[in-house]
């Protein structure tokens, strides 16, 4: 991070395993820098208010809403976006379980689940719910997403009530 006027910086962000240099305003949010400076448009703006989760990326392994983080504050972290996944179990499960329709919320959900499966590989229903309630999907019924998470975590679908 080199400091020019304190309102603009030349930063090197570690994105998907590659150090990428770019110019940012201090006021730029990470989401905009990923999308506009690096062309990584997988993370989506849904509300820019921390409410919907469609902008979720991993920062040091944890899901973070990139609309609420300044890009300058993300230097010296490891950032992973959906573009950084290469045929992950979550991606495959989403296809198999029809866990999306319009697909707009999908990268956010997938990144959240990537974080979840790494940090809590044995997550029970209450942990899964706690994590996934951070994201909104307006198309599916969430049952499809649940089936996908179960598949990723190797859990058996519970029998009906």
């Amino acid at each position: 991070m080199t400091d020019q006027s304190h309102t603009r910086f030349s930063v090197a962000l570690n994105v998907n395993g590659v150090k990428r240099k770019t110019e940012v305003r201090s006021a730029d949010i990470l989401l905009d820098v990923l999308r506009n400076n690096f062309g990584l448009t997988g993370a989506k703006p849904g509300c820019l208010n921390g409410d919907c989760g469609s902008c979720t990326v991993l920062v040091n392994g944890w899901p973070i809403k990139s609309c609420m983080m300044l890009a300058v504050a993300a230097s010296n972290t490891n950032i992973v976006t959906v573009e950084g996944l290469k045929g992950s179990a979550t991606q495959r499960a989403f296809i198999e379980k029809n866990a999306f329709q319009c697909g707009y919320c999908t990268p956010g959900f997938i990144m959240n689940i990537e974080g979840l499966s790494a940090i809590h590989p044995d997550a029970d229903d209450s942990i899964i719910e706690e994590w996934l309630q951070s994201n909104i999907c307006r198309c599916t019924s969430y049952e499809e997403i649940k089936a996908a998470v179960y598949k990723v975590l190797g859990k058996k679908p519970e029998a009906g009530r």
Binding site: T7, A27, D32, T56, I64, M69, A73, E129, S134
Partner: protein, 279 residues
């Protein structure tokens, strides 16, 4: 997209942070401390705050600690709510802080930010009010150590430039019987219609509220009523309603009447949880 520019600093010590604040303030930049940034960034997009400089306090070592000293649990101001929820040294805090916003947001929201922010629910504050913790505040003249019950009145009373560094909680309060409930309008993710936390110390119950009035509070007067065993539980609850310190919120989450209905139910639940069936 934030429509205005500001400067960004990331000091390594609280002393540096305070100095920076002073000089930026002198330049008319209206600086703010940046912790999780969730409120600053979302408010800035809507021009609800305008600032010429942010001072990121995440590199300040003492703000990041989470450890025990001889008699206290020390929590740094930039520890995230997720971190607090995933460690169970202070279960009441883990549970109460673990219901603020949503999980991903809590990966960013800090305990200091929750307490010092503009959004007036500050749910993660309540356990500290009950445990009568102390706050360490960095300012021009070095550190101050104050009881939170004095430092917090509607909001944490900070002078311009002061920065919350740590919160110290006596070990003896950490594992007492507690009650913590967040009632929402209907959703699992929402601001509180009512958050009620209680801690039982010997035979006395301490209670703190958020979402009920315009600010979070713990009231000695209400505790006296709630612990008055001369009265039936019902009477104590009725009395409580009459002694709230401020008007009950009446907004899109719920009407004042409904909040009071929820309050009464929740107080009953609290008694049941902490004292069992009434005799």
């Amino acid at each position: 997209m934030i429509g205005f520019d500001f400067e960004y600093y990331r000091p390594a010590t609280s002393n540096e942070a305070v100095k920076l604040y002073e000089s930026l303030q002198a330049q008319g930049k209206r600086p703010v401390y940046y912790a999780g940034g969730t409120e600053i960034v979302t408010f800035a997009r809507l021009n609800q705050i305008e600032t010429g400089a942010v001072i990121d306090i995440n590199s300040i070592r003492e703000c990041r600690v989470y450890q025990f000293n001889t008699s206290e649990l020390v929590i740094g101001a930039t520890v995230t709510l997720t971190h607090l929820a995933e460690t169970s040294a202070f279960p009441l805090l883990s549970v109460t802080g673990g219901r603020v916003a949503d999980h991903t947001a809590r990966n960013q929201i800090t305990i200091g930010g929750n307490i010092c922010g503009e959004i007036n629910y500050k749910e993660a504050l309540l356990p500290f009010l009950l445990a009568e913790s102390n706050v360490i505040i960095a300012g021009n003249n070095g550190y101050q150590d104050k009881p939170i019950m004095e430092a917090f009145n509607k909001r944490l009373q900070l002078e311009p430039g002061e920065c919350l560094v740590q919160i110290l909680t006596d070990r003896k309060y950490l594992n007492l019987p507690y009650f913590s409930v967040k009632k929402r309008k209907i959703d699992v993710i929402d601001y509180p219609l009512l958050t009620l936390t209680a801690l039982k110390i010997d035979n006395t119950i301490r209670v703190a509220f958020s979402g009920l009035c315009g600010y979070p509070f713990r009231s000695r007067e209400i505790e006296t009523i709630l612990n008055n065993h001369e009265l039936s539980r019902e009477e104590r609850i009725e009395q409580t309603v009459l002694h709230l310190p401020a008007p009950v919120l009446d907004d899109w989450i719920g009407s004042a009447e409904y909040r009071l209905f929820v309050l009464k139910n929740t107080l009953e639940d609290m008694y049941l949880a902490l004292e069992g069936e009434s005799l």
